[in-house]
Symmetry: none
Subunit: 197 residues, 4 copies
Amino acid sequence: MPRQATGRKKEAILDAAVVEIASHGYHGTTVAMIARRAGVADGTIYLYFAGKEEILVSLFDRAMDRFTERGTDELAGLDDPVARLMRIIDLHLELVGGDRDLAIITQVELRHSLHFLDQLSRARVGGYLQAIAGVIAEGQAAGVWRRDLEPMFLAKAVFGVLDEMATDWVLSRRNTRLAARGDAVTRFVMGALRPTA
Amino acid sequence: MPRQATGRKKEAILDAAVVEIASHGYHGTTVAMIARRAGVADGTIYLYFAGKEEILVSLFDRAMDRFTERGTDELAGLDDPVARLMRIIDLHLELVGGDRDLAIITQVELRHSLHFLDQLSRARVGGYLQAIAGVIAEGQAAGVWRRDLEPMFLAKAVFGVLDEMATDWVLSRRNTRLAARGDAVTRFVMGALRPTA
Amino acid sequence: MPRQATGRKKEAILDAAVVEIASHGYHGTTVAMIARRAGVADGTIYLYFAGKEEILVSLFDRAMDRFTERGTDELAGLDDPVARLMRIIDLHLELVGGDRDLAIITQVELRHSLHFLDQLSRARVGGYLQAIAGVIAEGQAAGVWRRDLEPMFLAKAVFGVLDEMATDWVLSRRNTRLAARGDAVTRFVMGALRPTA
Amino acid sequence: MPRQATGRKKEAILDAAVVEIASHGYHGTTVAMIARRAGVADGTIYLYFAGKEEILVSLFDRAMDRFTERGTDELAGLDDPVARLMRIIDLHLELVGGDRDLAIITQVELRHSLHFLDQLSRARVGGYLQAIAGVIAEGQAAGVWRRDLEPMFLAKAVFGVLDEMATDWVLSRRNTRLAARGDAVTRFVMGALRPTA
DNA sequence: AATGAATGAGGCTTCATTCAT
DNA sequence: TATGAATGAAGCCTCATTCAT
């Protein structure tokens, strides 16, 4: 079987998993449900994933890869820390808000156990936070942002705001766009980073 | 059996549940584990709770009741919105940070499914957010805080920061106190709420 | 539930297991088959046994316990090594031949894997061999049996003969009694133990 | 493909099966394990064998063929029943003891189910027992061995001794040679066959 | 109110076998 | 002949819940 097709099947399984897990939750979704939606046999799942949990991990990895790839592209031409952070905020909301099913997973299902959350957090979110902290440190060095708080603390605070907006959006039944909150978040964050008098 | 004793047994079950769920996760904890630690028979659990999930709900309710009770007391004498918000921030971190097992549950386990999170969020967190929004609205009315952003949006942003700090603390293995971050959070939030130039 | 009844249920499961395993083999028997025949739910099996394999081990243990108990009784009054060994031979064939289903298990199913056979062999058969070797050593000391071969070697040889007769009987479809071979085996063994010229 | 090569691949599969089954047991060995070790694809196995069980049968057949071939050669020049039986004993121990992996299979894995053992027993072991019985009958006719026991019974007894020694050797972790027991077995058997007084 | 033995539905996973290439 | 991805039946086991005592 050509590699192309192999990749397709794995993708199909992940796509099916996103939909099923988003509507039934991780524990409420059976491997059989995912297989059925993906159009493969139950056993086929195990040709691509070591077990049910690995599907969830792969889901997150795939999402983070796309996130990172997109982020790298979008931030490529921006040197100004302010512009970079604004872009990060918009991008975060745009990407998370772009796929409600996936958002349900990242905002809710991926946090279903301490062990799991810890694993993900260290692996990928840690890098994301450091990237944000780096941008903030640049802005501090340039004198545009307050220096009385640590860059990593500020990065976590910013992430907390973004994450809460995302979770709130996921829980809201209204048909709003998450990205629409970008302007408010940006204004909040920029206000928070202003140097103190 | 006198009510007092009945209450005691229910409390014992909840106490046991906190410990077990904190170390094994909600899905990794069996009703039998909770019963054993509580010193009751498996069947006894069902005299006090409709099912396993209701234990989790009750856990959250009990925590929120204590939270609310403590909050009401502490905020009783404070009229100034700034002082009230500062008190809320400290209290949030102090209460969540006061019991690591409980914190694991509120920051991780309670978010194990969309349905569940939604339910809790509407029931109790919504009220908490409105309380914060109320304080912020007062400050805005008094002219000490920016008015270009909605009180509820700002409340969510503040909650996001607090929540992220709590989750980060839960995931960190280091033996720090969550309340120690109160000062930084306060400075961040106060900076963010300053009126725009 | 009274202990009596508890014991009864465990016995019922073991009895059911003997029948099922004897006709379908260990790997051909499902836990559900045993449960059905025992008249209990599948899950009940796990209240009494840690897993499927433990049923097999328990089966063997129970058989060996009865074997040992009966042997101890029967040999109690016999001091003469010759009489003792003759009794052992008859008893072995009588007990193994007394329950064809159980014999199928001891002669065939219990030997289904190296790991398993090794485990059983060390645990219980070893003791049996030593008991036989002890009797033989007595006879050697008394001068009635050959001394040019080690007691343990002779015990294994005698066991080999008994075991082969048992296996042969199990495999034979004819409706013979295993104990009927006692006389021939005794004559063979006694001939083999005669002192060399 | 020339026959030679075809034969080679089949041999490779059997060789691989011996190693895998010896270390993991018949049920613990998957067709995929055998294929990998043999350096062929899973599906290729089915070009040479009807199924997994046929591999085990073929393994036994190949071993018996070699056994028989060697036996025929070695016994060719021997007319004396005593010499023939002594040669059989040594050969049995030598051949079984010559390949520990194969011995594990013949002594343990081949006996994994009544149905299977029965099948093998009738097909090949029966012939072996009859050959031994024939030698014994000759000895009886020549007057060197006891006549009060049937040749087939005696053949089974002798086989039982050899089989027990082989199984004992397989289970013993010590690095002994099985053939080293040939002398003791011979002495035991010859003693057993001596005419009764 | 309390017990805890019993239930039985249902899930994850394995693996012998097939078949399109 | 050879491949190996795909299949899907089937099994062991868990565990929330019940109910006779």
